[in-house]
């Protein structure tokens, strides 16, 4: 029942773009396509919820003519956990897009609608597929649909380059996936996803399977050295597509990693350690790169890298728990990681929708041209603030809860003799703390530069804030609050998903419940109390300030302050970017004021992506120059071409 409902939702979503092909542009407001997406989300959420009832988990199996076994789909709690945010975010994004991507202004609206539905449907299938070839097919449809969405603004050179980079990267990942499939088929003789034989993990094949999975899924998820496609693609896509991509699409990489590791009955400790290290690197450097950005959506995209890092820390901890047989690590690691998948899906899509509202109002993605937007976008700004607090991992919002689980898990090994088989977990704690504080600094910068102060440049272009634009954001913000204040609402859903991820066999004692391990009840009381204190103090400040006279800030007696004298995004982050100079390699011009009455000069600094611009592009450029030597063979003389053909035939004749 559960699987059928989810597949029905996929069909609904895939067809949701069809009405747009037969109709004229409409004024902003809910469109038939969005209602179809909402219907798909309702059906799909029902199906995903049913997956947590043991009796409803039947697989859907249809024999078909394609090689590699039947069409086999099934929704277990792990899939359902990923499907939940997908349906919520896709529906919220669709309604947001109705306002954001005004059909009368953008000629590409039809293509956007069609591929948005197809992307959602393919994501559903990726999470539900149990036949590896079906998975690969869905994966490829997802990649191509996302490509068409990223390059919606095809006439913009940057969007085109980002789309092509994404296309190349995703196919490199698909290539790794091909190898993965072949190895799994070689090991099990079947394309159906099922447990791998014990002992395989120690063999070369097992290692190849796991590290190929890390490469393929890490490319999609954006783990640090493999993240280079992500900032450009997220910045170039329309904002609600960025929300879906960052909130859900990159999580397919996490899903794949969790799924593949769950197939191994006995993973070695080195795998968990590797994932943990990758997670720490992505987390710290992701947020450091985010600090250096001037483009609001690139900034958010780097935060996706950071959050994928946090999720990977959880996965690594869970994997180590599996290797060492520590149930607390399994529960807290996988639990924290998976809850962060859900949380990041909610608050990151909320932030991307918020950035969409900002881009719509200001007509640019450059933060240094914005400012004072809270006056134009009061509700969206408040929602953005909620998302910013959540992503910084502060109580009483949901980001805090998942990071709390991770802290508990990582610190669990400290001081316990039984767990000293693997004492390194505590080393990730400072990294996690550093990530949290840098994220906070980064969102203080983003919120302050964008929403506070005075408008820089020409000021807002569009000054209305339609209800259908902020309503999806408000819904997502409400979900963030719900998980943050009452984590016990989600832990019953996490427990069965952790059991799938930990591949807990029935013989062993059942895993402890997450709510018990993390002592949620006192935590929740603390969080609610904190929320009450915060809300009441906010109200008190409002009341006190009611009669106050409003005036400009005191500017040290300077008579003519102007908007250009405000902090910019780069000046605000200058110190923190300087701390990470060794990794970010910021490009700043050397000219400075040298004598009185200096001539005016321009100052521009930017932080390029280190992997893409310092490593990949130079390497590929050198490769292209080498390959250009081969073009000497191509001289345009038809006679010599014929000679080449004959030479080839002769060589082949003598070889065979």
């Amino acid at each position: 029942m559960s699987t059928s409902l989810v597949l029905a939702a996929a069909v609904l979503a895939a067809l949701s773009g069809l009405p747009s092909l037969a109709r004229r542009p409409r004024p902003a407001g809910p469109s038939p396509e969005s209602w179809l997406m909402a219907a798909a989300a309702l059906v799909g959420l029902t199906g995903a919820a049913l997956a947590f009832l043991p009796g409803q988990r039947g697989a859907v199996e249809v024999p078909w003519g394609i090689a590699g076994g039947p069409f086999l789909a099934s929704v277990d709690p792990l899939s359902a956990l990923f499907l939940g945010p997908l349906f919520v975010v896709s529906a919220a994004g669709a309604f947001f897009g109705d306002v954001y991507w005004a059909e009368s202004l953008h000629p590409s609206w039809r293509r956007l609608r069609v591929f948005y539905g197809i992307l959602t449907a393919s994501l559903v299938l990726v999470f539900a597929a149990r036949n590896l070839l079906l998975f690969l097919g869905a994966w490829e449809v997802m990649a191509l649909a996302a490509f068409f969405l990223i390059s919606t603004e095809w006439n913009d050179g940057k969007a085109r380059r980002a789309g092509l980079l994404y296309l190349v990267t995703t196919h490199v990942g698909t290539l790794c996936l091909f190898g993965l499939l072949a190895l799994i088929y070689g090991a099990t003789g079947s394309f159906v996803l099922g447990p791998l034989p014990a002992g395989l993990a120690a063999s070369g094949t097992g290692k190849a399977i796991f590290w190929l999975a890390v490469a393929a899924f890490g490319l999609k998820a954006g783990l640090m050295p493999l993240h280079f496609w992500l900032p450009g693609a997220h910045a170039a896509a329309p904002s609600h597509v960025s929300a879906l991509m960052s909130g859900v699409l990159i999580k397919t990489g996490i899903y794949g990693l969790v799924r593949i590791q769950s197939l191994f009955p006995d993973p070695p400790v080195a795998w968990g350690e590797g994932i943990l290290v990758l997670g720490v690197v992505s987390g710290v450097l992701g947020v450091a790169f985010a600090l250096g950005q001037h483009d609001l959506k690139r900034l958010l995209a780097y935060h996706s890298v950071e959050n994928i890092g946090i999720i990977a820390i959880g996965l690594g901890l869970g994997l180590v728990g599996r290797s060492t047989g520590n149930p607390a690590w399994m529960v807290l690691g996988f639990g924290g990681g998976l809850l962060h998948v859900v949380n990041h899906g909610l608050f990151k899509s909320l932030l991307f929708l918020g950035s969409g509202a900002v881009v719509r109002a200001s007509g640019t993605r450059e933060m240094d041209r914005m400012g004072g937007l809270l006056r134009v976008l009061p509700v969206s700004g408040a929602c953005f603030a909620v998302g910013a607090v959540a992503i910084s991992g502060l109580p009483p919002l949901n980001g805090f809860v998942s990071e709390w689980f991770l802290y508990l898990g990582l610190l669990d090994g400290v001081g316990k003799r039984a767990a000293s088989a693997w004492p390194w977990g505590a080393l990730a704690v400072p990294a996690l703390a550093l990530i949290g504080s840098l994220a906070l600094a980064c969102f203080v910068k983003a919120f302050g530069i964008v929403f506070l102060g005075e408008p820089r440049g020409a000021g807002p272009r569009v000054t209305d804030e339609p209800a259908w634009m902020w309503a999806p954001m408000a819904a997502l913000a409400a979900l963030c609050f719900a998980i943050g204040l009452a984590p016990m609402l989600v832990t019953p859903f996490l427990d069965p998903a952790i059991a799938v991820a930990a591949a807990a066999p029935a013989a062993r004692p059942a895993l402890p419940r997450l709510a018990a391990v993390a002592s949620l009840r006192p935590l929740s009381i603390f969080l609610v109390g904190l929320a009450v204190v915060l809300a009441s103090s906010l109200l008190a400040v409002r009341r006190l300030a009611r009669g106050a006279k409003r005036d400009g800030t005191w500017s040290c007696g300077y008579a003519a302050p102007g908007p250009t004298m405000q902090y910019t995004s780069s000046s605000f982050a200058d110190w923190t970017v300087g701390l990470f100079r060794w990794a970010l390699l910021p490009v700043t011009p050397a000219n400075r004021l040298e004598r009185p009455f200096a001539k005016p000069f321009r100052f521009a600094s930017h932080v390029d992506d280190a992997v893409l611009h310092r490593l990949l592009i130079p390497v590929f450029r050198a490769g292209a120059e080498l390959a250009a030597l081969g073009r000497r063979v191509q001289h345009g003389q038809i006679q010599l071409y014929l000679f080449y053909v004959a030479l080839t035939i002769v060589v082949l004749l003598f070889q065979v």
Partner: protein
């Protein structure tokens, strides 16, 4: 019967030399036409009892190789204003020498092939190989597009002779295929010629190297 076939095959090999050695385009084309006409007699001679199919085939080959294609080529050199001279990359004497070496090698090579006993003594295989080689020489060492067509024609003639080996084992489908292939090849070459002509006002394939990327 085999003697008359061998006589024709020797004539064909000689015509290769004529094509490679002649300085004038008209002679080249005319010799290629003669080669085609000689070739078309072969199916009748190789067959033990030539039926209607062999006759049809001979007629087809004679018409296409002896009349249609050469006629087309003559028309081409009449229409486009080019010097009626072969422009070789490799001189006439060296190409004749190469052709002689090639023909000798073809004879040697054919001797070492495990052929069916009824073909063992015949000149069919060496003549076919020699014609292919010389056709290839024309293709690679001559500059004008017209001579390219002639080279292609010779290559096809060589394949045609080789196909005669199978004339009893295989249906005529092979032969029809060869004719069709030839016709398509000439057709394409014709289009190419026209386009080179209209693009560069010349039929020199040398100019094609401007098209390289």
């Amino acid at each position: 019967m085999t003697q008359s076939a061998d006589l024709i095959l020797v004539l064909i090999i000689l015509s290769n030399f004529v094509i490679l050695g002649s300085r004038e385009l008209r002679v080249c084309i005319r010799t290629a036409a003669v080669q085609g006409a000689l070739l078309s007699v072969l199916p009748l001679l190789v067959h033990r009892e030539p039926g209607s199919r062999a006759i049809l085939m001979a007629l087809g080959a004679a018409v296409v190789k002896g009349l249609v294609v050469p006629g087309f080529l003559f028309q081409a050199i009449r229409h486009v204003k080019i010097r009626h001279e072969v422009e070789p990359y490799v001189g006439f004497v060296p190409s004749l020498f190469l052709c002689a070496v090639g023909s000798g090698l073809a004879l040697l090579f054919a001797g070492s092939l495990p052929l069916a006993p009824e073909h063992a003594g015949s000149l069919l295989v060496p003549a076919s190989l020699a014609t292919m080689l010389s056709g290839f020489l024309v293709l690679t060492t001559r500059r004008k597009a017209i001579t390219q067509v002639v080279g292609y024609l010779m290559l096809e003639n060589g394949i045609f002779i080789f196909g005669l080996l199978l004339i009893e084992a295989m249906p005529f489908l092979v032969e029809a295929g060869v004719l069709l292939d030839l016709f398509a090849g000439i057709f394409i070459m014709g289009i190419v010629l026209n386009h080179i002509q209209s693009e560069f006002s010349s039929l020199d394939t040398h100019y094609l190297s401007d098209l390289k990327d």
